[in-house]
């Protein structure tokens, strides 16, 4: 199944900061081209998705401290890869390599988020943490 090989940091990233494949692809796109700036239109055409969707994803990823937003007066919003910490940066790096080597497992992991308390059980044993993601 391969899911056991996914590093803990990547697992946490997928559970807490990446909500979909689109978001994952968007994040990795900006990660690979860092420190380049992207706007929603360019992301949409690069990934062949709807512009509105790209806007949403970029905003979401920025809210989760993975991207930085730079607002230009009449030239719209520009995003770049800017993780909030080194650990986060490392986790994204591991995610990128995991996505390359074990794509199916990563996707499965992304979409198999149990909402029945099972994941909360494991998370309860994290000693130091920030606010839970409920």
């Amino acid at each position: 199944m391969g899911q056991e090989d996914i590093p803990e940091a990547v697992r946490a990233l997928l559970a807490e900061r990446v909500a979909s494949i689109s978001e994952l692809e968007t994040l990795l796109l900006l990660y690979r081209t860092a420190p380049a700036e992207w706007d929603a239109q360019r992301v949409a055409s690069e990934l062949r998705i709807e512009r509105a969707g790209a806007e949403q994803q970029l905003a979401a990823l920025a809210a989760r401290e993975l991207l930085a937003l730079r607002q230009e007066q009449d030239a719209g919003e520009h995003y770049s890869y800017a993780p909030a910490s080194e650990d986060l940066d490392r986790a994204v790096g591991e995610l990128a390599s995991a996505y390359e080597k074990m794509r199916v497992s990563v996707v499965q992991m992304l979409y198999s988020k149990p909402t029945d308390g099972v994941r909360h059980f494991a998370e309860a044993f994290r000693l130091r943490k920030g606010p839970s993601n409920g």
């Binding site: 199944m1 909500a19 994290r126």
Partner: protein, 98 residues
């Protein structure tokens, strides 16, 4: 009344086995190693109470039995340590998940 004790212990063995199987299932589903370790731990506890059921209550004071129990709890401690070692201190996302 003391004849009930092996029965109680036997039932406990069954419960431990079921719990271990559930944790094994969670491990297969999520790949979260903590679950595999809890499965092992409850398996060991089941073994502990099985041995107790087959002998006598005061065997609990004997090395063989409490070593099994010790192992079970050491595995739990190890699981907790592992969980906290590799962690990335992440902050909760601003928006929810799918």
């Amino acid at each position: 009344m003391s004849g009930a004790i092996p029965v109680l212990n036997g039932a406990t063995v069954m419960a431990c086995t079921v719990a271990a199987l559930f944790f094994l299932r969670f491990f297969r589903r999520t790949g979260e190693r903590l679950f595999a370790r809890f499965a092992a731990s409850f398996g060991l506890l089941g073994l502990h109470w099985l041995a107790l059921a087959l002998t006598a209550p005061d065997y609990e004071f004997r090395p063989l039995l409490y070593v099994i129990r010790l192992l079970a709890f050491v595995v739990i401690l190890f699981a907790i340590a592992e969980k906290n070692r590799a962690q990335t201190p992440l902050v909760a996302p601003a928006t929810g998940s799918p």
